[in-house]
């Protein structure tokens, strides 16, 4: 391989367990990165993708060691190199861009100084040249007014800008290979689209080889030329991006693709059963055997080798790839569309709700004056019927979680009221609510690692609401816990387990079980799937939908992911800076005409298809405060009409299908503009 920048041969990395067994995290990885190529490494958490990316820098995490194989960078084995020699390569030849740029930048040093440090270390430039180079780099990553930017501290930049600075620092040494570890995962959808576009540009402009590690097939599709799919420490599929994402010939990849909700295909995607095996548990046979629909006897006894299929230019680790290749185009029922029975009974009603985080100043308190006339969330009117799923959508800072907290009573609404079950006003403080209304509204959180007490067993976790609301004890309590766990498809033997002994999906099931144990009328779901892998996400969404069918529960579903929202909700409310922009039946919100902000959001959605490019219609500026008057979206709106947007709050306009849009542009005109 002459033009390979990096060549990895038969690499295995692992650790020695307490019992003294050798357990591999990476198993016999053989691949190469060519000059100028962008390779996407995709896999779910625990697949070993980050370990592989770190090994490409010659770094093996503490506790792990190289079992066999080599990682050659221009025929030097990085894994056996002296630290001193490695220092010359890292940064100069191979650079890494970490996941969270905000945490990887030193908070008390100016941006310019930090880039200068990288330049000092990795180049031989003189001071004057370095200053010029800093501006040049910041320009290259498209940060506005580089001279001013260089004087700022990291906290003065938004997440997207911080990520750009990280890219600039990585480019300082003019590396041949750029490693990116989930560089856009923490970013908002619109920012993510912009950063990916920048990376594409840099790859073309500098000819740098890139390795893009991500769990997000959508992002991978946008940047990569070649995709490597990892499962349980092995490469299962390796080939050109279109080949992999359009007709995958490995059952794991096709299952993964099927479980991603897509905007073009409304409805709940199929989920893959089971979860990735723990390292060291699979001793013989295919590691995907347990979850594979095509598995047969042969698969459980023999491990398939990575086989190169010449006419497809793809390597695959499956005995049955030919079959998969042939049957691929048959259109199956990929999604189940949801049908909810919505009763004509109002479950929750929010009228004119405003929420403010600002603390009253002492002087204002004395004068009994309202201090904050520009609250975080303002003027929210929402009605939710029994059995409905209402989704709240928006980027970070849009106030969607704030609204949920206020409904749950955790945050005091400043103005307005929340009505429950036809006109019963809920007190806005938790202490004043009666037990029955507390029971009726339950929350499910984003991250089950945080929402489950790590020192409680599953039994203790699920028993909390049962003891509190129904006063159950002893045998009765235990029976009820088992019954609830069965509903979320967890067996009795989970009772004695601790959260750390469960997989991500199982943990979220326990959280769902805890919410349902209270027999609630309304469940508030706060980004419940965004911490989960895609295959698990589909399973949780399906579970929520089944439970809804059984109990007629009403959901309020908060998410930043438009495709997920499209899959599960009846109605969608789009929020920007704590103000409603658009609300309507979900099938209409996703059709034009729509609010310019919805248009921006829809444009930035990344589909796992390299041929569908995101549309970048608005700048990815981050606004910290909602504007004091006028339309909330005035600062970023690509369709701003003029002064009126800055001065007047736009009126509600109702489209022919019942979706309401808050914009100064006439709805018919919007339709023409967005065609």
């Amino acid at each position: 391989m002459e033009n390979a920048v990096q060549q990895i041969n038969n690499l295995s990395i692992g650790f020695t367990s307490k019992k003294g067994e050798q357990i591999s995290i990476l198993k016999n990885i053989t691949t190469n990165i060519k000059k100028g190529e962008t390779v996407g490494i995709v896999g779910e958490s625990g697949s070993g993708k980050s370990t592989l990316a770190l090994a490409m820098m010659g770094y093996v995490k503490q506790g792990l060691y190289t079992i066999s194989g080599e990682c050659l960078f221009h025929s030097n084995d990085l894994l056996r190199m002296k630290d001193k020699d490695l220092e010359d390569i890292r940064g100069r030849k191979i650079a890494m861009i970490p996941q969270n740029a905000g945490q990887s930048l030193t908070p008390n040093l100016k941006i310019g100084y930090q880039i200068d440090e990288a330049l000092k270390l990795h180049t031989d430039l003189k001071i004057q040249d370095r200053n010029k180079k800093i501006s040049e780099l910041l320009n290259k990553v498209r940060l506005p007014s580089p001279e001013i930017m260089a004087q700022r501290y990291p906290h003065e930049l938004s997440g997207g800008q911080q990520q750009r600075v990280a890219v600039a620092m990585a480019l300082a040494g003019n590396p041949e290979l750029l490693l990116l570890d989930e560089p856009t995962t923490g970013l908002d959808v619109t920012t993510q689209a912009h950063v990916l576009e920048l990376l594409n540009f840099i790859a073309k402009d500098t000819g740098t080889s890139m390795v893009y590690v991500s769990h997000d097939l959508g992002a991978i599709a946008q940047v990569s030329d070649r995709v490597i799919v990892m499962y349980s420490g092995q490469i299962v599929l390796d080939g050109p991006v279109r080949r992999i994402l359009k007709n995958p010939i490995h059952p794991y990849t096709s299952g993964l693709l099927k479980s991603i909700p897509k905007l073009t295909l409304p409805g709940l995607p199929k989920s893959m059963s089971g979860s990735q095996p723990q390292p060291g548990t699979i001793t013989k046979g295919c590691s995907f055997y347990d979850r594979c629909e095509l598995a047969e006897m042969n698969c459980s006894n023999n491990s398939p080798e990575l086989e190169y299929v010449k006419n497809l230019n793809t390597s695959v680790r499956c005995f049955k790839h030919k079959e998969l290749h042939e049957k691929i185009d048959k259109d199956e029922n990929l999604v189940t569309s949801i049908e909810n029975t919505i009763l004509d009974k109002e479950m929750l009603g929010l009228s004119k709700v405003s929420i403010s985080y600002a603390k009253k100043k002492f002087i204002d308190q004395l004068l009994n004056k309202e201090s904050d006339d520009n609250p975080t969330v303002k003027d929210i009117n929402l009605n939710i019927s029994k059995g409905e799923t209402l989704a709240l959508v928006g980027e970070s800072g849009s106030g969607k979680s704030t609204i949920l907290k206020s409904i749950a009573g955790l945050l005091k609404a400043k103005e307005g009221n929340i009505k429950y079950e036809n006109n019963k006003i809920l007190p806005n403080e938790l202490k004043l609510r009666d037990p029955n209304s507390l029971r009726a509204i339950q929350l499910i959180f984003q991250n089950p690692d945080e929402s489950l007490n790590p020192n409680h067993t599953v039994e203790q976790i699920v028993s909390q609401p049962l003891k509190l609301y129904f006063g159950l004890q002893g045998e009765k309590l235990k029976d009820e816990i088992i019954k609830v766990l069965k509903k979320v498809r967890l067996g009795e033997f989970y009772l004695t387990r601790y959260p750390r002994q469960l997989s991500g999906g199982e943990k979220q099931r326990v959280a769902v079980a805890r919410a349902f144990a209270a027999k609630p009328d309304v469940i508030l779901c706060d980004e419940v799937t965004s911490a989960l892998d895609v295959s698990v996400q589909a399973a949780v969404l399906n579970l929520l939908q089944e439970l809804k069918k059984d109990f007629g529960t009403t959901y309020i579903f908060v998410s930043h992911d438009l495709a997920v929202v499209r899959a599960i909700s009846d109605r969608v409310a789009v929020l920007y800076q704590g103000r409603l922009c658009e609300i309507g039946p979900s099938k209409n919100v996703y059709n034009f005409p729509s609010h310019p902000y919805t248009e921006v959001l829809l444009g930035a959605v990344l589909e796992p298809d390299p041929d569908i490019k995101p549309k970048l219609v608005a700048e990815d500026i981050v606004e910290e405060k909602p504007p004091e008057k006028g339309c909330s979206f005035q600062g970023r709106c690509p369709r701003k009409v003029g002064e009126i947007c800055n001065s007047e709050v736009p009126p509600w306009q109702i489209g022919e299908n019942g979706n309401a849009i808050r914009c100064h542009i006439n709805i018919d005109e919007l339709r023409n503009l967005q065609k």
Partner: protein, 294 residues
């Protein structure tokens, strides 16, 4: 797919597990051995003490170590070996119960302040700060001279002064968990503060508080011995290391044995408790000595 069914572990088994993990490191094993040795010695020493600890005999003054008097005799002709093996009894008992009191009130107040926050927290913590700024030994001397040196006075007094630090640790540990979603979830369900403390916070901060308590124990031992050294701890003729060191220090140049034995006793016990506490922390997964990951 076969599923492994785990049997719930009994508390006794958990304790066994923790102790065996502690003993699996050399430092933990050494610490546990020293501590165990001292505890056994303290419990059983009256049974085999070779001489009467309070028998004064001027003819036996300051004898060097011999087969009859293993560690020699002190300035009043008492057997140093007998007094050394008996000398840890009071110190160990007083400080053990003292640290439990420190643990209880410090932990409870710390968790409460961490949970409630706001003005109450501010006021309580400033009071704690004020107490921290008073040299404890002066305050102890005051208390002891007013109320006497009985263990009924010493245990709560030491417990109070060594609990102040635990308040801070418990409060910080509470702050770590208080923002987690499972607390928010419990609040949203409508649990009261007591239930949240007992069910949600305590299991998560218990380890940190217990390790801190174990560390305080060794400091308290040193503190108690200092009091004895100054003549405010154990009253003679009851043997005590601090007191023995104090009595024999002037004769150190020609009767080193009379001061050496209690010093070895006291410092080995403190080292033993320290090593045990460190191993305990490691076994619970609270490692205070590891470097930041590179």
């Amino acid at each position: 797919m076969e599923l492994q069914v785990e049997k719930p572990k009994s508390n006794l088994f958990k304790i066994y597990e923790i102790i065996s993990t502690m003993a699996s490191r050399p430092s933990g094993l050494i610490g546990l051995t020293i501590l165990l040795f001292h505890v056994v010695l303290a419990v059983t020493s009256p049974l085999y003490a070779p001489h009467d600890f309070k028998a004064i005999d001027p003819s036996l003054m300051l004898l060097p170590p011999s087969s009859e008097y293993w560690f020699g005799t002190d300035s009043l002709g008492r057997d140093v070996f007998t007094r050394t093996i008996l000398g840890g009894r009071t110190a160990l008992t007083v400080t053990f119960f003292g640290s439990i009191i420190a643990l209880l009130w410090g932990g409870a107040l710390g968790i409460f302040c961490g949970l409630v926050g706001g003005r109450i927290d501010d006021v309580v913590m400033r009071i704690i700060d004020a107490f921290l700024s008073i040299p404890w030994i002066l305050a102890m001397l005051l208390i002891v001279s007013l109320l006497g040196t009985s263990t009924i006075v010493l245990i709560p007094a030491l417990g109070f002064f060594y609990g102040k630090g635990i308040v801070r640790v418990a409060r910080a540990a509470t702050h770590d968990v208080i923002a987690k979603d499972f607390i928010v979830s419990a609040r949203a369900r409508g649990h009261g503060n007591l239930s949240i403390i007992w069910n949600e916070i305590l299991p998560n901060v218990r380890d940190a508080i217990m390790v801190e308590g174990a560390m305080r124990w060794s400091w308290m031992l040193l503190g108690f011995s200092s009091l004895s050294f100054l003549g405010f701890g154990v009253s003679p003729p009851t043997p005590d290391w601090g007191l023995m060191i104090s009595n024999a220090r002037g004769l150190m140049s020609f009767a080193y044995w009379a001061v050496l034995a209690p010093i070895v006793g006291l410092s080995s016990l403190i080292i033993g408790i320290n090593l045990t506490a460190d191993a305990f922390a490691k076994a619970l997964g609270i490692d205070r000595s590891t470097k930041a990951p590179v």
